[in-house]
């Protein structure tokens, strides 16, 4: 049975068909799968459909044996699917530490009653949570920002904060929407190395939407290409790069932008 499978999924907004019978599968955990395509191809809509923000009009989404279609986004997150957002959805008026702390409730959550009364067990759990949050921040080199208000930080750093935060839910599958955008070359390199390490050590699978070709060709083992809501190619980076349909889809975009 496949670790993660999207089968023939379509998504319709009124008269607009955003996704048409798209299929994608990640057979085992610990794999890195890329999702690319020109602007407007439906990549973010695809991610949003998996996470339950949109409900697909047809098709199946199965994750570790469980059907995801019809579940609410928070239920899907609790099943072990984490995500980051294209335009970082950070908790702007909270500190970086609190941003990451917020994600730990699924596994280190303590009951509201215990917390409200200040019981010792709740306090201990809170201390544990803080420690785990700090180590997540350290993993991404963000510990010096722990008490900084997130909204004051530049975009590139917030991308990393979102990553650290997403890991707090201990996901088995991470959906990353343009994780290196807004980062310098150096930061992007570091982030990729870190992602690879995570995949190896924690066996997290990644589905990565990227515009930066250098990054995704190096990172992904397998690529799916979307154009106008349809899958037009799939394969290893080399296969996809030399696929004529893919080239013309991107060239088309270049022409449009020229």
């Amino acid at each position: 049975m496949s670790f993660f499978a999207v089968e023939q999924v379509s998504l319709q907004f009124g008269g607009l068909l955003a996704l048409r019978k798209v299929s994608l599968s990640i057979p085992n955990e610990g794999e890195i799968h890329g999702l690319i395509g020109p602007n407007g191809a439906g990549k973010t809509s695809f991610i949003n459909t998996i996470t339950g923000i949109y409900r697909c009009t047809e098709g199946r989404i199965v994750f570790r044996g469980k059907d995801l279609v019809g579940l609410t986004p928070h239920q899907i997150a609790a099943r072990g699917i984490g995500r980051t957002f294209q335009n970082v959805e950070i908790f702007a008026d909270q500190t970086v530490l609190i941003n990451v702390l917020t994600s730990l409730h699924l596994h280190l959550g303590h009951g509201a009653w215990g917390s409200a009364l200040g019981l010792p067990r709740a306090r201990k759990a809170e201390r544990q949570a803080r420690n785990e949050a700090m180590s997540l921040l350290e993993m991404f080199g963000l510990e010096k920002y722990c008490d900084v208000r997130a909204g004051d930080l530049p975009f590139g750093i917030l991308k990393r904060v979102e990553l650290a935060r997403a890991l707090g839910t201990r996901p088995h599958l991470l959906l990353l929407d343009e994780p290196t955008s807004g980062m310098s070359e150096l930061e992007a390199e570091e982030t990729i190395t870190l992602l690879r390490r995570l995949v190896q050590e924690k066996k997290i699978a990644l589905l990565v939407v990227e515009h930066n070709m250098r990054v995704i060709m190096n990172l992904a083992e397998k690529l799916t290409v979307l154009n106008y809501g349809e899958k037009i190619a799939e394969g290893t980076p080399d296969q996809v790069q030399s696929n004529p349909e893919v080239i013309s889809a991107y060239l088309g975009e270049e022409h449009a932008n020229a």
Partner: protein, 325 residues
Amino acid sequence: MVLREAFDSKIGLLAIVVILLTLPWLLGSFYLYTLSLILVNVIIATGLNLLTGNAGQVSLCSSTFMAIGAYSAMVLNLKFGLTYWLALPLAGLIAAALGFGLGVPALRLRGYYLALATLAFLEIIQIVIQEASTLTGGVRGLLAPRPTFAGFKLNDQSFYYFILVITFLMIYIARNLLNSPLGRAFNAIRNSEAAAQALGISLAQVKVIAFTISAFYAGLAGGLYAPLVGFVDPVEFGLWTSIFHLTMIIVGGLGSLMGSVVGAVVITGLPEWLRGLKEYRDLASGAILLCFLIFMPTGIAGMWGRFHRPLDHISKETEVNGTRS
């Protein structure tokens, strides 16, 4: 801010407690009454701030939950003979139950729609209070006597101490909640519903919990307010009172526990600062509110917090890596 640093330091806290404990002996009965009123408003402000300042849910019916608490406590006490010491917490629970009842349909509503739903709830309860006059006394209101303990009716000072204890308790609980996963969930759904959901936070649960807790606080405050004032007058629980409550948390600082306290102190005391200008009260408070909304949206607490934020190490880091976006 002196007050916040004082709160954080144990000695400072002790000093505040001592001051508050000895004040009754120093103040005349009028100022003691005002102080008791401030404490009641601190409770309301704290609960409302949790709902609106932290969880981001607009509510125009805080006065309604206060009314529910006030009427419930007095009706249970006077018409059903339940002792005040049980009627009070029950009144809070009744208010909480209605808060839960409001929270459920309000789940899918945001912004203006949510505000209007709470406004409709306020109006409906106003009508219910008027119509159920055998229970509530209708437009004429209810007399609310001071409770008795061990046969003795509580005087101003003893009742003040009771309110003080309850206020400290409610602040303590709020502080714990804010530093817990629930408190973080509140702030999360206000900042970004999408991200909160992606972290496994259920919007529905958190919103309903926020309404319920806030209603409990307001209801409890109402149950304390009634015997303090001595009378339950339906006219006092209208839209304008809700605006008064919102003024407290806006001026004090949305989302800040310290802000709730500061706001309650400043705004409750306002009629006092403006004693000679009683007729201009709404004009003045409206102007203050507007000024804060336009120029100081983070309130007094927020302005003070700005001075304590670590800004230095960001600029150095970004210069090195050039990650200004």
